[in-house]
Symmetry: C2
Subunit: 367 residues, 2 copies
């Protein structure tokens, strides 16, 4: 709490403030404030006068003073799935939100949590209603159920409540911003890694697990990207697609459809750990396995060398940045970039630790 040394005190480059504007325009600061915030109740004439002065002096509001003086305490909400022991994916976004919340608490911003069941559209609908009756100033949501989400954001539009998508987005929406991944391109990336590993021989299997319930869109796009890469590149390799429904995920025999000896690589569009577990039991460690997401299950098999590559979409950061986008928009009136595709990170046993250390750092984003 103590300053170790005298600090530099500069008064020179003083920016023009509301008071200077008022002086130059020969009005009171109250009137200046009215035009800054477009509150009306100002005659056209004085309005113009003030705008001219602001223009000439290149006025920039002091946001620190704004925050301190303002009685407004923006309330944000998030509407995302809750995680379960079976599917931990959504824990990461939640952590990102909590971290952001802590950092912006100093600015009077609070965050409320509305978590729904990712397998039940009804659950989403109910929580969406709860959000509306909570009357928030901004919403972060994962629009997993397109139709229901679409109805919901229309209501937000009417109420002029800004909202940000994470994970996926809706086509026709007026969302402030979107933080997600390019699933198609990630499929191409996986294909490249696979090509390198297999070198034009054998069969490569694309496995979709439980896509009748979850991840439908992402999995499809990943598969498409993967196929497209091989169409353009390596004609020597044969691709097989295997769809395994959620009910059968514990049935290890579902993989045996493909002749054992031929398989040189497997691309799991989700739940790679299930495939890894199978390969591990069968002792097939030489098969290249590429999957998605740094879940604990996946990490275990990555460390064991059963999974070779995991592609990560930074779910923690998606949510963190989503909250910050709302914060910057509402409190600082900053311009927000609409589409934000996270870089596709490739994780291997070798860079896993650096990645976890950095990404999971709970101490705060910058420290």
């Amino acid at each position: 709490m103590t300053l170790n040394r005298k600090r530099n005190i500069i008064n020179s480059s003083k920016r023009t403030g509301i008071k200077e504007i008022a002086g130059l325009a020969d009005v009171s600061i109250g009137t200046v404030d009215r035009v800054i915030h477009n509150r009306g109740q100002v005659s056209k004439k004085t309005m113009k006068k003030i705008l001219d002065v602001m223009d000439k002096t290149n006025y920039r509001p002091n946001f620190v003073a704004r925050v301190l003086a303002s009685k407004e305490k923006p309330r944000l909400v998030c509407l995302i799935p809750f995680h379960t022991p079976e599917n931990m994916y959504w824990e990461a976004p939640l952590e990102g939100i909590i971290k952001a919340e802590k950092e912006i608490a100093d600015y009077g911003v609070t965050v409320n949590y509305f978590l729904f069941n990712q397998y039940l559209a009804d659950s989403f609908e109910k929580k969406a209603r709860d959000v509306l009756s909570d009357n928030p100033d901004g919403v972060l949501l994962a629009p997993i159920f397109s139709k229901q989400a679409s109805d919901f954001v229309k209501k937000l539009d009417n109420l002029k409540i800004p909202y940000v998508f994470i994970d996926s987005k809706l086509k026709e929406a007026n969302n402030l911003s979107f933080f997600g991944q390019n699933s198609f391109r990630s499929g191409m990336l996986a294909a490249k890694l696979m090509e390198f590993s297999c070198r034009s021989k054998g069969t490569i299997v694309i496995v979709n697990i439980g896509t009748e319930y979850e991840n439908i869109h992402h999995a499809r796009e990943r598969e498409n990207g993967f196929k497209t890469y091989f169409l353009n590149n390596t004609p020597g390799i044969s691709l097989h697609v295997l769809n395994i429904s959620s009910e059968n995920i514990n049935n290890r025999d579902s993989l045996v459809e493909i002749p054992d000896t031929d398989i040189s690589g497997i691309f799991a569009t989700s739940s790679a750990h299930i495939i890894a577990n199978y390969l591990n039991h069968k002792g097939k460690n030489q098969i290249t396995l590429i999957g998605y997401d740094l879940t604990n299950d996946n990490i275990t098999f990555l460390e064991k060398g059963i999974i070779d590559f995991l592609i990560c979409q930074k779910p923690r950061e998606q949510a963190f940045r989503g909250i910050y986008a709302l914060f910057h928009h509402i409190v600082f009136k900053k311009q927000i970039r609409r589409n934000n595709l996270m870089p596709l990170d490739i994780i291997t046993r070798e860079n896993l630790n650096d990645y976890l250390e950095f990404e999971l750092n709970k101490e705060g984003y910058y420290e």
Copy 2:
């Protein structure tokens, strides 16, 4: 500039402020301020009384008010190499610093730039002297010349000026923080990619270019990591090391030391584009080439498919976070994590665009 709807106004969860503390301790706010900042001139007795109250009420200072009221305008400086058309690497950290500077300008923080010639220790020494006479509140530096940097930071220690390292660090220093990469592990990662690509056949060449001048430490560590991986893993592959001095980098024949037909992969510990250029001319596109850093030259050959993988250390982010660490430490008195190793990102033709879009975004870090 206009609010589209009425905002939530909450007065309930009012945090205790300096005024409440003063009331409860039966002193003036001035005295409270003295103990908060340990300015002395307070009797032991009242000091204890105030500390007790702060403890009980769990007092947390309001940093927004602090910034507004304070006359202190922290001045940061950076001491890093300047970039040249021949070596653009250091442009990225500079961009990161500039971006951070813009974001924290609202808090009265300014940044001064002291750029030195990365090949001349004298240049570093001179600029370091300039930094000292500028009397900054915090320093961000790349301690490229160990001895000179060591002398310099000792002076900073004496002056109690906090400093942060980027790119590399000094062993014995009292730096506030460090943002860099794990070069050894990045070498291992490169080796894994190489192993996947070459599948136990042929010769792999490790090429060090111009390491008598620059990057000595990083290049050495990268090489060590690379070799270590192969020691532990694939005995079937033979490794060759090729050191090319800067004078010979335009002499394409320097590569011919290794029999042509044997080479299945090349690992360039720096300046991969030079190797790529050579391979391109010779039409040897089937050789796997792995290098470092997203410089424009490298990117060109990555897009062409001559370079297969680039490992990136996020130089922009290193510098950006370094400045933020100083800012948070000085202005908000936040706890700063000392060692920050950036994740090792693997860039290919497939994920290059997403990466560049995100990383190079000049609009601000979060938007």
